[in-house]
Amino acid sequence: MKEILRTWQREYGIIFTDGGLILIFFAAILVYPLFTTVPYSPEILREIPVAVVDQDHSRLSRQLVRMTDATESMRVTSTPLNLAEARRQLLAKETCGIIVVPHDFQRSILRNKRATVAVFSDATYFLIYRQILTGMVGIGQSLSATIEIERMGMAGLPYLRAQSAREPLSLKSIPLFNPSGGYASYLMPAVLMVLLQQTLLIGIGMLRGTASEMPRQTMPRRGNVIGTVLGRTGAYMSIYVVHAVYFFLILFRFYRYPQHADVMTLGMILLPFLLAAVFLGQAVAELFLRRELSLLAVAPLSILALFIAGFSWPAESIPSWLRTLSFLLPSTSGIDGFFRVNLMGADLRDIAGNLGILWGLAAGYFALACLSLRYGIKRRS
């Protein structure tokens, strides 16, 4: 116990007097979330520039152009005369989509034939493609409905009135969570979790690297290995609990990200997540014989941790052996569990699997951390 408190205090002493560590443990945590949110801060892609090639110039085609311009997702920025010119503009990135209204558009509709509107959208950017498609399908449906109602009035057929008001079988799609499909609310919570994990790994690695460079000052010659690991854990955990409060109670409110879980539930997932990361950090720290190595090794892997977590790219599509390996990173279960309880409002029983893995990792990495520290002491003496 004495060993724990002494180590705890000593770690504080090192961390708070080392500019490099303050940068990783505090400055990065403070600035990084504010910085990475910038590109996504509008949440939704609006007013995508599109070109309309109107070959019909009729009342209906003009109505379609007006409706396109009026939707939130699109803005008609050019009306080229032909498709070739429209293609050139799209290649030059002046527009992101082309809508072609055929020359017999109105005539077909008036003759009770089906009219086809071709939409070409830039699928080098999936978000643009999806927004244009969703917008145009919506416009097609509402214009179709208007036309059908006009026709019904003209025809006055009883069966048409009954049938055309609604399709025989329709689908009502209800988004369960993140209803607006906001991009920041979707991505940032995961980025924050990865940031907690990665800064812990880098910081702890840097601490041990520094100790390796100057063995006399910071390395306990002998003594209680478990006590040292726990003391260090106490120091890091106390700092990261403050960070978690900053991220998930202050920033979440500031950015209005969905927040379904209460503080207790959040703690139940964040505690094993942070513990697992802290022990993992200590387990691998002895590999970093020099101060800068952890930065070099851990920082580039953040993107990988994010894509392997199974929330942006579906877990079902990742080969199962790799999926299994990915659970060795606390971020994989941490992000999934956090998403479910905090963003989707699941309760702890729905994420029992994630919690089990995280506690398992914490226990396993604790043992590894002790072994690794013992090896480190042996190597130096």
């Binding site: 490099g20 940068l23 990783i24 990065a28 910085f35 990475t36 590109p39 509008p42 892609l45 290649l91 992101c96 077909s108 034939k113 089906r114 009219a115 086809t116 509107v117 939409v119 070409f120 830039d122 699928a123 080098t124 643009i128 145009m136 399908v137 214009l143 026709r151 049938q163 609604r166 399709e167 025989p168 079988l169 329709s170 689908l171 009502k172 799609s173 369960l176 969570f177 499909g181 991009y183 979707y186 520094t210 800068e292 190595l293 930065l295 090794a297 920082a299 580039p300 953040s302 993107i303 790219w313 579906p314 079902e316 599509s317 990742i318 479910r340 989707m344 729905d350 994420i351 699997g353």
Partner: protein, 401 residues
């Protein structure tokens, strides 16, 4: 006379080649360089290729609660299951169970087929299938939703068509009534919406730039930290330009190998369409390497501290993907995001890459971005050259960690 000749001879010996040889020796004797130039980047490439190997997600679980249990509802389920995107998972005990299963991650969406569906359809009463989809998992949910919509619309169209034909309408007129306006959508440049072309194509260079920057910063900064900068400067015969060029060239060549391998991997083995100029892509890859090396010199010179420079590099390069406008396009970003994105060589490189691979744009369209990459390769390093000389010669800058 003789001694001055010897000195002259020594001076010519010391210079670019000496530094080049010295650095090659350093690279060979420190396994870190091999690890972070070859082993880790290639492993990361392999992992990214493995993660996204399907290209288009398949067999995503969709929970179905069938309250009707009729031949019609089974027909709908068969149609859903036939989609390559969807794998139907029955949720037999109702809506509450379906919700739970979505929450615990057993399905990306949950559909409820109402009671008496078949009876309603046969008697001409409109019916509704309800789908709850998990929008927090944006990508898989939207794929499942798209195919559910398609299946329901097809089924509904078939029913209506039969109904109208029964009332004596021609097939064509009936079709026109179903939906007078049809939206015929074309996904340009990537018709299958393949994630290998979209993400792997852009993520590999993103990973590469992190390693170029960090390894170059390490190679330059370690001389300051270890206090060997003076010896390095002497080896160059006191010429800053020769010292820097000789030092960085071996790394340039190593990263060029990786970069060209990356392009081969993308276009040969992963089948990313190459509709533009491979020469322009290769040239840009070379410029990308030089641009990040130039920035490495800049960061080391400005901070005069390797670890601080590495921290800056991590801050600069690791979140770059958020700003390059691939997943969240540049047109949607606020001004600050656009400005920061334009300060990253990666953004310009990816714009060339996408233009010359998927989009098949004319070469002339990529020239401005090539000019910007060249500027990145020249300006930051030129700007700090005088300061770097000071770092190499004044030993108070050495030994900082």
């Amino acid at each position: 006379m003789k001694t001055s000749m010897a000195r002259e001879e020594q001076k010519t010996k010391r210079g670019f080649i000496t530094v080049l040889v010295r650095e090659s020796g350093r690279i060979a004797s420190n396994p870190l360089y091999a690890i972070f130039t070859f082993v880790v980047p290639l492993a990361v490439f392999a992992l990214l290729c493995t993660i996204f190997h399907e290209g288009v997600p398949r067999e995503l679980p969709l929970l179905v609660y069938d309250a009707d249990q009729s031949s019609f509802s089974r027909q709908l389920i068969r149609m859903l299951d036939a989609s390559s995107t969807i794998r139907v998972v029955p949720a037999p005990s109702g809506i509450e169970e379906g919700r739970r299963l979505v929450l615990s991650g057993r399905g990306y969406a949950f559909i409820v087929i109402p009671e008496n569906l078949e009876e309603n359809i046969l008697t001409g009463r409109p019916s509704e299938v309800i789908e709850y989809y998990n929008n927090q998992f944006l990508l898989p949910a939207s794929l499942v939703d798209r195919d559910v919509k398609k299946a329901v619309a097809t089924l509904s169209g078939g029913v209506e068509l039969r109904l109208r034909q029964k009332y004596g309408e021609t097939r064509e007129a009936a079709l026109a009534h179903l939906q007078p306006i049809l939206i015929d959508s074309h996904a340009l440049f990537n018709p299958q919406l393949n994630y290998v072309y979209f993400l792997v194509n852009t993520l590999l260079p993103t990973m590469l730039q992190i390693f170029i920057l960090m390894v170059s910063v390490y190679a330059l900064g370690i001389e300051l930290k270890d206090g060997t900068a003076g010896e390095w400067f002497d080896a160059a015969g006191g010429n800053t330009l020769k010292a820097v060029a000789g030092k960085l060239l071996p790394h340039t060549l190593c990263f060029l190998c990786i970069g060209f391998f990356m392009n081969t991997l993308l276009f040969r083995f992963l089948g990313v369409p190459l509709r533009g100029s491979i020469v322009i892509i290769m040239l840009s890859t070379a410029l990308l390497v030089c641009a990040y090396q130039s920035l490495a010199l800049f960061f080391v010179a400005v901070t005069a501290n390797m670890r601080l420079a590495l921290s800056f590099s991590a801050f600069y390069a690791a979140p770059a993907f958020a700003f390059v406008g691939i997943t969240f396009p540049t047109i949607g970003m606020p001004l600050a995001g656009k400005i920061w994105g334009s300060l990253l060589p990666l953004s310009h490189y990816l714009s060339i890459l996408v233009d010359q691979s998927l989009r098949g744009a004319p070469v002339s369209m990529s020239l401005p971005s090539i000019a910007v990459l060249t500027a990145f390769a020249l300006i930051p390093s030129a700007a700090v050259m005088w300061r770097f000389k000071k770092l190499m010669t004044v030993n108070t800058y050495w030994g900082r960690s």
